[in-house]
Amino acid sequence: MFYPKADCCPFNTDEPTCTPIEESVSVNAQPMARKENMESSPDVNSQKELLEKIQEIGFAVVDLNLFLDTHPDCTQALELYTKLSSTLKSLKADYVAKYGPLCATDSDKNSPFAWVDDGHKWPWDI
């Protein structure tokens, strides 16, 4: 049968356990290689770096979510999912505190409404 059984991990079909997932997704992975921009200020660079980290961990969470949808009994995947979800939550809180809202409800109490502030670029304008 092409599809792996519910109790085995597709990342390493030799092993009946899910341990290889942890190796394939590292919390401390380096951000994706990017061009150095001489004009960018250090602050812009650190914002970009943090956003890339959020995208990286966010993608791992999305992908593990799909894996767990069809493998709800895999304890290793669930453990990694909850660990990365919590890492993602704190990375997002850090980003919001430093650079502004990711969701409308992240906006602070200072007027004008930060969600539509011209200082916070939309993702296709960054």
């Binding site: 966010g58 409308a104 969600w115 539509v116 502030d117 011209d118 916070h120 939309w122 296709w124």
Partner: protein, 194 residues
């Protein structure tokens, strides 16, 4: 990107199946003035809006329309539950049923599949915002027609909520249009080319 919340924006709890009514309501799922088209229209137009306020408004209304799409889908699903062959034939639902059973397919009430020809994305903020104002009124008029023909209070309660949201969106789009127009007269008639 988007996160999904496992709840409806407004509760949908229909007691009595009614495939004939499902066929009318589905107009707001996949019809020309339905929620799918609304969402696709605003989420596509937002890229070329001239300022953060208008980009934000189109993002937020486009997102809310997806929540409405889910509610209309829930209405169609609940109205076609527990039906039988006799009921399907007598309710005029047979032509839909033959292709889709009780699946929720994005089509108009006459069976035409969803078509992006029903929406416009011009890349021009004045043009697009005027289209959006018209779109909200067309959706409101469709909900009015459903209310004229439906006698199910459970369905009508949900339809009245959705109808009220069309009016709220119309108001916000009007404000956004006025804002963009004011910017255009602000010593820079090429503002929108930014």
């Amino acid at each position: 990107m988007w996160d999904y919340e496992r709840k409806l924006m407004y509760p949908v709890k229909i007691k009595n199946p009614n495939p004939a009514l499902a066929k009318m309501v589905i107009a707001q799922y996949g019809g020309p003035d339905g929620e799918l088209g609304a969402s696709l229209r605003y989420l596509s137009q937002r890229f070329t809006m001239p300022d953060s306020v208008t980009k934000g408004l189109l993002t937020d209304i486009g997102t809310e329309e997806l929540a409405h799409l889910e509610m209309v889908g829930a209405l169609v699903n609940q109205l076609t539950r527990g039906t039988n062959a006799k009921c399907v034939k007598e309710s005029g639902f047979a032509d839909y049923f033959i292709n889709h059973s009780t699946g929720v397919y994005p089509a108009n009430s006459n069976g035409s599949p969803f078509n992006a020809m029903a929406i416009a994305v011009s890349g021009d903020p004045i043009t697009d915002l005027n289209e959006d104002l018209a779109a909200e009124q067309k959706a409101r008029a469709t909900y009015d027609n459903i209310l004229r023909l439906s006698d199910d209070p459970d369905v009508n309660d949900v339809i009245k909520f959705l109808r009220a949201r069309e009016i709220a969106h119309y108001q916000r789009f009007g404000e956004a249009l006025r804002r963009v127009e004011e910017k255009l007269t602000d010593n820079n008639k090429f503002y929108m080319n930014k």
